[in-house]
């Protein structure tokens, strides 16, 4: 199966086409095809995982399985498609197909009766196929194709309800922001293509980067350009602005975007081409580097914003941004396994939280937490699973988030990135606090909305229950003493020196980070439940009020982008374009029109009226005159005709005699 892993992206791709072609005529309007394809894909991924785990570890590492089909070979440059299946790819295959399968099932209930139900499932399948294509890619070109397809599908799905202007502008914003990063990605791919000796192969690229085959300057430039793409796709500061707006899409799409596809593509890219980043940004030397810095800023910035949101999906969106910051920070700190492991665990509990929030929205018909409250009584299943997800996200022992977050902190500490360890601990405190706030506002107290909330249908409830299991237990895969994850998923480039070091579990750090998380949760709970919030603190202290205003306005980043960058460029360009339009283009068009008219008039008067008509009329008149004169010879007298005949014969005879 590992050799045939290309089947796994192919399945949802075929399903997408099939749904579009025949979906509307099926009893389930197409969802059965999508669910069937993803079910098969998930089974295939599990078989892949089993085969990968069962692979021999001779030489210390499992050997990656590759296959490549060349499309064009031109001047030694190989362009084609292929698969490179190692632990990282297998892990992603399992996560993506699992989450996507559950999202498909969940959408049956959530999207029931939607006017573009079939189209939605087709796009969902295509989204999954694109992400899987990216995951299995063995060359940067194929990876980029998958990357762009993911962007396109996210555009289609975020703008699924495009009839409302807000939704379509959110889709455009997502598209434009990520495209901005994609320019960097494209340049990076081109730089690295030439740097690696005109070769797109990723393993070759990593090998060259780690063994000194590429100069440090080139690596730095390539890595910086790639990282721009990562910042766009994985919503890192300051290109994170599209992700909260992307909440305009249907909630299952948000779950898919945040957990399995789209945003993790950036993190995956860093993990996949880690050799370039490791050498390019000199990650081995500790201290501060761009990747870790951006990740760290993102952790704290997004966590701060999550406090002031009323929309439950936006709280989760900012928490995703924050968690993506953790992953990028981990990769920037040289803790490759920790970053990838956090991606793995985060996928489960974030999908769970998003699907849970979808269930809440389905029940109260509003995204706003101010219209929820007291839902524990009405929706017991959603309540239990949502709390499990929140605890996992907050990093409470022994749920999934605890282990992966702790591993990141430990990696930062051991690799001498002390600053980022502190950032991680502060982030853990904030995460626990804002998730407690969200849970309290949603489930505790009295119901503040309209109508009667109700538990969701089974197709929405069961995915929550299923997801809560890995959300609780996935972390044990890399827990001390029993953990095996770091042996299954590792960064290994044959022939290159080892760059990653496993660090022993650090109990004091784990206890400290847990204590901080519990402290954050307790403070938030006391503030809301017992009204221990200092009354009027905001009114008395201008500093607090200013801080609140900055958070509510999202650090004024949107304003900066719109007023500072977009307008500055847009207005002069628009003005110039208007001037060009009025003076140059209109001038050309008008002049062209006037001259055409003159030429046409001349042609009409002289050529058409005099020339062509003259010919036509002359032909008629000539024929008439000829007929009139010839008519006289037609007397009807047979003897006259005979006389002409004899006369002519006589003339010919005379002519013959004379000539001979």
């Amino acid at each position: 199966m590992l050799k045939n892993a290309w089947l796994i992206p192919l399945l949802p791709a075929i399903s997408s086409v099939l749904i579009l072609a025949v979906g509307k005529r099926l009893p389930g309007k197409g969802h059965e095809i999508g669910i069937g394809a993803l079910g098969l894909g998930f089974l295939g991924s599990l078989v892949c995982a089993a085969e990968w785990i069962g692979k021999s570890t001779e030489g210390g590492h499992r050997e990656a399985v590759t296959a490549h089909a060349t499309w064009i070979k031109l001047a030694g440059v190989d362009i084609g498609a292929g698969i490179h299946i190692d632990g990282l790819a297998v892990m992603m295959l399992v996560v993506v197909t699992f989450i996507s399968l559950l999202v498909h099932v969940y959408s049956m209930g959530y999207m029931h009766g939607d006017r573009r139900y079939t189209y939605f499932f087709a796009a969902l399948s295509l989204f999954t196929a694109s992400m899987l294509l990216l995951v299995v890619a063995d060359n940067t070109l194929q990876l980029m194709i998958g990357w762009e397809l993911v962007g396109l599908c996210s555009f289609m799905l975020i703008g699924h309800w495009w009839e409302e202007g807000v939704n379509s502008s959110a889709a455009i914003k997502a598209m434009m922001t990520t495209r901005f990063g994609d320019v960097g990605l494209m340049i990076g791919v081109i730089i690295l293509f030439f740097a690696a000796g005109r070769n797109f192969n990723i393993e070759h690229l990593n090998h060259e980067a780690l063994t000194g085959g590429i100069s440090h300057g080139l690596l730095l430039a390539g890595a910086a350009c790639l990282f721009l793409g990562v910042m766009g796709k994985s919503a890192q500061f300051p290109l994170h602005v599209w992700l909260p707006d992307a909440m305009a899409g249907p909630t299952p799409v948000s779950a898919l975007i945040h957990a399995a596809t789209m945003v993790v593509a950036g993190v995956y890219l860093v993990a996949r081409t880690y050799g370039v980043f490791f050498e390019g940004f000199s990650i081995h030397s500790g201290g501060i580097n761009l990747v870790a810095l951006i990740g760290g800023i993102t952790v704290l910035m997004a966590a701060g914003l999550a406090f002031v949101q009323d929309d439950v999906k936006k709280v989760l969106a900012y928490s995703t941004v924050s968690q993506l910051g953790y992953m990028v920070m981990a990769l920037g700190c040289g803790a490759w396994t920790a970053g990838v492991f956090h991606l793995f665990t985060h996928a489960f509990f974030k999908a769970l939280l998003f699907l849970g929030s979808g269930s809440l929205i389905h029940a109260v018909h509003s995204n706003n937490m101010s219209e929820m409250g007291g839902l524990r009584k009405f929706m017991p299943t959603t309540y239990k699973t949502f709390v499990i997800g929140s605890l996992a996200l907050a990093g409470i022992f022994p749920l999934a988030g605890f282990w992966s977050k702790d591993e990141i902190l430990n990696g930062a500490r051991a690799n001498e990135f002390g600053l980022f360890m502190v950032v991680g601990i502060v982030g853990a405190f904030m995460t626990a606090a804002y998730m407690t706030r969200a849970c309290y506002l949603i489930f505790a107290g009295e119901y503040r909305g309209h109508g009667h909330p109700h538990e969701s249908p089974p197709s929405m409830k069961w995915p929550l229950v299923i997801l809560s299991v890995p959300a609780a237990l996935a972390g044990l895969l890399n827990a001390p003493f029993i953990g095996v994850f770091h042996k299954w998923v590792e960064f290994d480039v044959p022939g290159a020196p080892e760059i990653l070091h496993e660090h022993a579990f650090n109990f004091p750090l784990a206890i400290a980070s847990s204590a901080v998380a519990v402290l954050g949760a307790t403070i938030a709970y006391r503030a809301y439940a017992h009204n221990a919030w200092p009354r009027g603190a905001m009114a008395r202290t201008p500093a607090l009020a200013a801080g609140y205003r900055i958070l509510v306005n999202k650090y004024y980043l949107d304003e900066l982008f719109v007023n500072g960058i977009v307008r500055k460029i847009q207005y002069p360009i628009a003005g110039f374009a208007y001037w060009v339009n009025q003076h140059v283009i209109d001038g050309i068009v008008n002049g062209f029109g006037t001259n055409s008219r003159k030429v046409a008039n001349f042609v009409y008067d002289n050529i058409d009226q005099k020339g062509v008509d003259g010919l036509v009329n002359g032909a008629g008149a000539g024929a008439e005159a000829g007929g009139r004169s010839l008519r006289r010879t037609q007397t009807g007298q047979v003897q006259q005709y005979a006389a002409y005949l004899f006369g002519a014969a006589a003339v010919l005879a005379v002519g013959l005699v004379v000539l001979t």
Binding site: R631, Q634, T635, G636, Q637, V638, Q639, A642
Partner: protein, 98 residues
């Protein structure tokens, strides 16, 4: 020897031509055509006899046969003209005048 025959044939042919062009009566015109054909027959036979072969006579026989058929058709036309107009003046048969 030959010249006398040719002269006779030429004279008869010319009389025929005159008859065809100048007479009003359709029957006389047909008869004049017969004269012309027979002038040709005289020529054919005279040349045949002079050259001492029978091809001239064969052609003359063909001409006589076809002339008989032609007179049959011609007289039928004349008869129909007479029935329609009660005369056979060729001058007045000018329906095709342009």
């Amino acid at each position: 020897m030959l010249n006398q025959f040719l002269m006779l044939a030429a004279v008869i042919f010319c009389i025929g031509v005159y008859g065809v062009l100048a007479r009003k009566n359709a029957v006389l015109v047909l008869m004049s055509i017969e004269l012309m054909l027979n002038a040709v027959n005289i020529n054919l036979i005279a040349f045949g006899a002079f050259r001492d072969n029978v091809i001239g006579q064969v052609f003359a026989l063909f001409v006589i046969a076809i002339a008989a058929a032609e007179v049959g058709v011609g007289l039928a036309i004349v008869l129909l003209i007479f029935r329609n107009r009660a005369n056979i003046d060729l001058d007045q048969a000018d329906l095709m005048k342009g």
